[in-house]
C-alpha cells in the first residue's frame, strides 16, 4: 500500500505551535508512507489539487490529512480523493488543531503529539477497505410537527412543490402563538389578518393532510423511510359531521372552563371552538369538565347538534403515516414566571403576562379588544411593563435572551396608547434589543411619538395597596439606573414580558426524533452557523422557535428553509446510505440475538441461512452506532470502517511503538 500524508498549517492555527515540517518528515518513516509534505491550507483549492496530483504522480492508495476536526472537512477531503480515482473511504484524518495546536503551547510536545496522531491515522488507513453505498427508495412525503406559523410556512412551501405533507398539531386548531396575537411589530398590522389566509390554505391544499388535536406517538425508520404513529386524541365530536356552527358552544351549560386559547383570562364552555378563524373550525369537548362524560348527566350538545356529530364515547385513535422527512416546528411556551415572588408569583390578579395582554387587546378576544384589568374591570390608567421576566436570569436557569420581548413590549405600549389615549405606559427594561429591519426605529417611535416612558432598571417589588377610593393599586418599585435613583409607580396593571423556553414535551419528542435538545427544551441544530435547519439525525429538520427564540419573520424564513431542505432531499430519485454500517460475520454468529435486542434502530433481523439462524443487518436502516459490536459476545458483528482490528491497530500504534 502507498500512503500519502499532508500536514496542514491552517495558516498559523496549527503552524504557530506545531512544527508541521517535522511532523511531515517523521511521517515518512511510518510503514507504507511513500509521500509526505506540509501545506499552508490543505482545504483550499490549490491544497486539494496538490493531493490529487500527488495521488496520480506517486500512485497513492490512501491519503492521511493532518489538520482540523473531521466534522467540517472530512467530507471535503473524501470528495478530493474520489476526484483522483480513489474510494472515498481510503482516507483518514488526524485532528492536530482542536486536539493539539489549540490546546497546548509547548511546540516540541505538540509536534510529538501531532506525529503520534498521524501514526494512528496511518495504521488505521492501512486496514481500511473500499466501501460502497447502497441505494434505496424515498417516500416523498414530509411530516410537519406543529401548526404554528413556522410549521404552516414549511407545509405550504413543501406542498407547493408537490410534496405530500402530513401536519400534526397538538391543539384543536392550527395557528400557534401567532393566532393569539393582536398586532405584529414593527408594522402594527393585524396578526390574524395575515395568518388566517395561510391557515385556510393549509386546510384547502390537497397535498396537506392535517391532524389537529393529535400528537406524535412514535417514530421508527430512517431518512427517506420513516413510519410515524399519530395519536388522534378523542375530541368527542365527529369532525366529519361537525360544521362548526357553534350551536353546541352556546347551549353547553358548563361555563366555568378555563379558556386556554385566551390564556385563561376568561372561561369557555366544556364544548368549544377556540376562535372564529380556527382551522379546522370544529368543536371539541373538554372531558375534564363535560358533565355528560364525567357524570353521565346532561347531553345538551348532542340534543342541539343539527348534524348529530357528538360522540361521547369516542376514544383516541392511532393512525400510521409513512414519510421520508420530518420537520419539527413545535414552537415555545412561556417560562414559569410564578417563581418571581417579587412580582406576586401569580397571586395578583392584575399582574398578567404579555400573551394574556395580547388576548385582552384582540378584537376577537374575551373583552372584544377593550382593556379592562382582570380584578375589577377598571380601565387602567397607569400600566407598567416589565421586560426580561424569565430571560437573562441565571438564578432561575434561563441565561439567554428571549429575543423578541423588547419588540412586542414596545408594540404593546404603543397599542396601549392607541386603545387608551389617556393611559400612561412605563417600561422597565435592562437593554433594548432591536436588531431587525425597522425594529430600532419602532422602539424609538414608542418613546418619541407615543410618549412611552422607558426606565432603565429592574423592578424589585410589586406591592398591592388599597387606594383612598377603595380600589387596589400596585406600587411598582424599581431602579432608574440612568438617574441613579429608586423610583416607584402606582400602577393599575402590570404586564410581564415573560421569556420563552422550548414547548412542553419538547424533550420527549426529541427522544422520539433521536435529536438533541438543550437545558431549555430547544432542539439542537447540526451546526450553529452553517447548518441551522438540519439536525444530527438525517432527514429531520427544524423550523421556528423550537430551535431557539426568534420572531415571526425569522420563523417564517426558517419554515421555508426547512421545506427547501426537504425538497433537495426528495429531488434525488434514490438516496444512498452511509456504508459505515454493521456487517455480520456469519461464520462467527451464533444467533444469540443480543444485537437484535440492543439495536436502537431495529436494523438487525434474524434470518435463516442454510438452515441456520443468523443475524442480518438491514444496511439502509443501520446508522453505524456500534452498540451491537460492543454487545456481541462472539465479535461477529463489526462496524465497517471501525472494526476491532482497526481500533486495536491504533491503540497498538500509540502504546507499542
Amino acid at each position: 500500500m502507498k500512503i500519502g500524508v499532508f500536514v496542514c498549517h491552517c495558516g498559523s492555527n496549527i503552524e504557530a505551535t506545531v512544527d508541521t515540517a517535522t511532523v511531515a518528515k517523521i511521517a515518512l518513516t511510518y510503514p507504507d508512507v511513500v509521500f509526505s509534505e506540509d501545506t499552508m491550507y490543505t482545504c483550499s483549492e490549490p491544497g486539494q489539487e496538490n493531493i490529487v496530483q500527488a495521488i496520480k504522480k506517486h500512485g497513492l492508495d490512501g491519503v492521511v490529512v493532518a489538520s482540523c476536526s473531521p466534522r467540517m472537512h472530512e467530507p471535503t477531503f473524501r470528495r478530493t480523493v474520489e476526484r483522483a480515482g480513489l474510494n472515498r473511504y481510503m482516507f483518514e484524518m488526524a485532528n492536530i488543531r482542536e486536539h493539539v495546536s489549540w490546546i497546548g503551547r509547548d511546540r516540541e510536545a505538540n509536534t510529538n503529539k501531532a506525529a503520534e496522531l498521524v501514526r494512528l491515522a496511518v495504521e488505521k488507513l492501512r486496514r481500511n477497505a473500499p466501501l460502497y453505498a447502497k441505494q434505496f427508495d424515498v417516500t416523498k412525503r414530509v411530516l410537519v410537527i406543529g401548526g404554528g406559523v413556522a410549521g404552516i410556512q414549511a407545509a405550504l412551501d413543501a406542498a407547493e412543490s408537490g410534496i405530500g405533507v402530513v401536519m400534526v398539531e397538538r391543539e384543536s386548531t392550527i395557528g400557534g402563538k401567532m393566532a393569539k396575537l393582536d398586532k405584529t411589530f414593527p408594522t402594527i398590522d393585524c396578526s390574524s389578518c395575515v395568518l388566517a389566509p395561510k391557515m385556510v390554505d393549509v386546510a384547502q391544499n390537497p397535498n396537506i393532510t392535517l391532524y389537529a388535536h393529535s400528537e406524535v406517538e412514535s417514530i421508527s425508520g430512517f431518512v427517506g423511510n420513516f413510519t410515524v404513529k399519530i395519536r388522534k386524541r378523542a375530541t368527542y365530536v365527529d369532525w366529519d359531521k361537525c360544521t362548526g356552527c357553534g350551536t353546541c358552544t352556546e347551549k353547553c351549560p358548563t361555563k366555568n372552563v378555563p379558556d386556554a386559547f385566551n390564556e385563561d383570562i376568561s372561561t369557555c364552555r366544556a364544548i368549544n371552538i377556540p376562535f372564529p378563524q380556527a382551522i379546522p373550525k370544529k368543536a371539541t369537548i373538554n372531558p375534564d369538565y363535560c358533565r355528560k362524560i364525567k357524570e353521565g348527566k346532561c347531553g345538551v350538545c348532542a340534543k342541539v347538534c343539527p348534524t348529530g356529530a357528538i360522540v361521547y364515547d369516542m376514544v383516541d385513535e392511532i393512525v400510521e403515516e409513512k414519510v421520508g422527512a420530518i420537520i419539527a416546528a413545535t414552537g415555545y411556551d412561556l417560562v414559569d414566571w410564578t417563581v418571581y415572588k417579587e412580582y406576586g408569583g401569580g397571586t395578583y390578579p392584575d399582574v398578567i403576562t404579555s400573551l394574556q395582554y395580547e388576548r385582552m387587546m384582540s378584537a376577537s378576544g374575551p373583552t372584544a379588544g377593550h382593556i379592562h384589568r382582570p380584578s375589577d374591570g377598571m380601565e387602567p390608567k397607569n400600566i407598567v411593563f416589565i421586560q426580561c421576566v424569565g430571560s437573562r436570569d441565571c438564578s432561575i436557569g434561563r441565561p439567554y435572551c428571549s429575543g423578541f420581548c423588547c419588540m412586542y413590549t414596545a408594540k404593546q405600549a404603543i397599542m396601549t396608547k392607541d386603545h387608551l389615549p389617556d393611559a400612561e405606559a412605563f417600561v422597565f427594561y435592562m437593554d433594548i434589543r432591536a436588531p431587525g429591519k425597522m425594529y430600532d426605529e419602532f422602539t424609538r417611535r414608542a418613546q418619541e411619538e407615543y410618549g412611552v416612558q422607558y426606565i432603565r432598571g429592574r423592578v424589585s417589588a410589586i406591592q398591592p395597596t388599597v387606594r383612598p377610593d377603595g380600589r387596589v393599586g400596585y406600587i411598582v418599585r424599581g431602579a432608574d439606573t440612568l438617574l441613579g435613583e429608586s423610583v416607584e409607580v402606582d400602577a393599575d396593571m402590570v404586564v410581564l414580558a415573560v421569556g420563552v423556553e422550548g414547548s412542553k414535551g419538547a424533550g420527549n419528542l426529541a427522544e422520539k426524533l433521536r435529536i438533541s435538545y438543550d437545558h431549555y427544551g430547544f432542539f439542537m441544530e447540526s451546526h450553529v452557523k452553517l447548518r441551522p435547519v438540519e439536525t444530527n439525525t438525517a432527514g429531520v429538520y427544524l423550523a421556528g422557535v423550537c430551535q431557539g427564540p426568534k420572531d415571526i419573520p425569522a420563523s417564517v424564513a426558517q419554515g421555508s428553509a426547512a421545506a427547501a431542505k426537504v425538497m433537495a432531499l426528495f429531488s434525488k430519485p434514490k438516496l444512498e446510505n452511509d456504508p459505515q454500517v454493521s456487517v455480520v460475520d456469519i461464520k462467527r454468529c451464533v444467533a444469540c440475538g443480543k444485537c437484535i435486542q440492543v439495536c436502537p434502530y431495529q436494523a438487525i433481523e434474524e434470518v435463516e441461512i442454510r438452515g441456520q439462524k443468523k443475524a442480518h443487518v438491514i444496511e439502509t436502516v443501520c446508522q453505524g452506532c456500534g452498540v451491537c459490536t460492543a454487545t456481541c459476545p462472539q465479535g461477529a458483528i463489526q462496524v465497517a470502517h471501525f472494526t476491532d482490528n482497526q481500533l486495536l491497530a491504533e491503540v497498538n500504534a500509540l502504546c507499542l511503538s
Partner: protein, 185 residues
C-alpha cells in the same frame, strides 16, 4: 434613600416647556451618555449632563433644575457637537439655567454672581472689562482676595488693563440688554 414616585412627580408640562424654550425634542435622547463622556466639567458635576437630560425626559423638575452642574457647565457645546441625535444639549442646559433662576433654585450663587458681574461690564462697555468683573464680583459676593496672587502676573502681561476699552457699538450692545429686560418684564 429618596424614592421618586414617578406617576406623581412626573411633570410633563415641564418637559414640554423645556422642549419649547430650547427648541429641542428631548424624547429623541436615548441615553447613550456621549454628552457626559465628552463633558470637560463632568468630574465636578453633582449630576451628569445625561442624567439631567433623563430627568427632563421623566419630567422631574427639581432633579433637572436643582443641581450645581448647570452652573458649572462651561457652555463649550462639546455635548451638542457630539450628540448622535442632533440634540443641542448646551441649549437645553442654558434653558434649564434660565428656568432655575426663574424658580429661584440656583444652586451656586457665586457662579451666578460671576456671570452677572461679567454681563454688567459688557452692558457698560460693550465688551468684557476684567478688572471691572473682579470688582463687581467681589462686591456681589463680598468675597475677598481669593485669586489675588495671579494679579501681578496678569497686570504685567497687560491682561488686566486699568482703563476699560470701550467699543464703538457700545450703545447697540446696551440696547440688547434693554430689550431683554423689557421682554422679561
Amino acid at each position: 434613600m429618596n424614592i421618586t414616585r414617578l406617576d406623581k412627580a412626573r411633570d410633563l408640562k415641564f418637559k414640554r416647556q423645556v422642549e419649547e424654550e430650547s427648541g429641542q425634542n428631548l424624547s429623541t435622547c436615548y441615553q447613550c451618555g456621549k454628552c457626559t463622556a465628552g463633558c470637560p466639567g463632568a468630574q465636578v458635576y453633582d449630576r451628569q449632563v445625561s442624567q439631567i437630560m433623563h430627568a427632563v425626559q421623566l419630567g422631574l423638575k427639581e432633579e433637572a433644575l436643582k443641581n450645581r452642574s448647570l452652573w458649572l457647565c462651561l457652555s463649550c457645546s462639546t455635548c451638542s457637537a457630539r450628540c448622535p441625535n442632533n440634540i443641542d444639549v448646551a441649549a437645553v442646559m442654558e434653558t434649564l439655567r434660565m428656568m432655575a433662576r426663574r424658580e429661584g433654585w440656583v444652586q451656586d450663587r457665586p457662579i451666578e454672581s460671576f456671570w452677572k458681574a461679567f454681563l454688567d461690564t459688557v452692558h457698560a462697555t460693550g465688551r468684557s472689562y476684567e478688572l471691572g468683573v473682579m470688582a463687581d464680583y467681589m462686591g456681589r459676593t463680598l468675597r475677598g482676595w481669593g485669586n489675588l496672587e495671579i494679579a501681578p502676573m496678569a497686570l504685567r502681561k497687560n491682561k488686566m488693563p486699568f482703563i476699560p476699552s470701550v467699543i464703538h457699538g457700545r450703545k447697540e450692545v446696551a440696547r440688547i440688554f434693554k430689550r431683554y429686560a423689557e421682554k422679561r418684564s
